[in-house]
Amino acid sequence: MHELSLAEAVVSALLKMCEEEKWGAVKTVRLRVGALRQVFPDMLEFAFGTLVKDTPLSDAALVIEDVPLTQRCGECGVPWPEECVECPSCGSLRRETVTGMELEIHSVEVEAL
């Protein structure tokens, strides 16, 4: 999708925390990105690298953890393989996404002051 706005949201949230929590330099930023989120990692890294110049995040490495898509049946709860049109166990059409929608700043590694 729009990796630049995504990177902007990440960087501005972190810079705010950085100031409020009085962090030292940030060494690592870990994101969790679900498979349904249409994020192209190379573009996100590029945008992030551009936005953090001359900030306390300028040395931070960006680590993107891919979260796979998992689904289950909304009726009987059994795992629902991606290629199935209906629940392999009860035939229901109600499919729920369990993981794959994540778009989250998971954690940061910060240099002690």
Binding site: H2, A9, R95, V108
Partner: protein, 221 residues
Amino acid sequence: MNRIITIQQSVMAEDEKFAASIRDRNARMGLLMVNIIGSPGSGKTTLLEKTALQAGLSMAVIEGDLATDRDAERMARIGVPVVQINTRGGCHLEANVIEKAMESLPLDTLDVLFVENVGNLVCPAEFDLGEDFKVAVLSAPEGADKPLKYPYLFTSARVVLLTKIDLLPHLSFDMEMFTTDVKKLNPEAALFHLDSLSGDGVGSWLEFIKIRAREKKANVR
């Protein structure tokens, strides 16, 4: 020693707050909000014109486009309250912009608020505007392979509309593949085929919207 600080915060946290507040207000007012998403030229505005003229609903539209207020003019011409948002290049609408646009609409007189998102099958699908549901609009000339190529939209929409079906005789549109792919991505989606200009098939769509609007009014909390 470096410290690891766990944050676990959604990247969209700021915008999710706006979406939640819109959803909350609409629930209190019994106002149905529908987010219309499709490519440029897929027939979103024409569909909304037809809906305004035939549904017998009190509706308003928020139009999202990179430039011009042409879509807003079209809606205003038929007496629909409308706000045009120009994103100047932005590929999608976000909830904070919608909240501001809603301020200039007569919300308490409405049954349905439509948001016509920026023409794009990718980004708009990812931003929660506080709507009740998304509608994916695909016109027949775009091709039957689009659901699998742009799966996020078709997975997250509650309604899939195939428009311009009057052109089908002139196209090599594989209807069986299209239907199978949509069902595979989203077994519960309501799928309608229509031609907004002649009105063919529009009735089922209008009926769907009217029922949803009534349900929303009936469930005011």
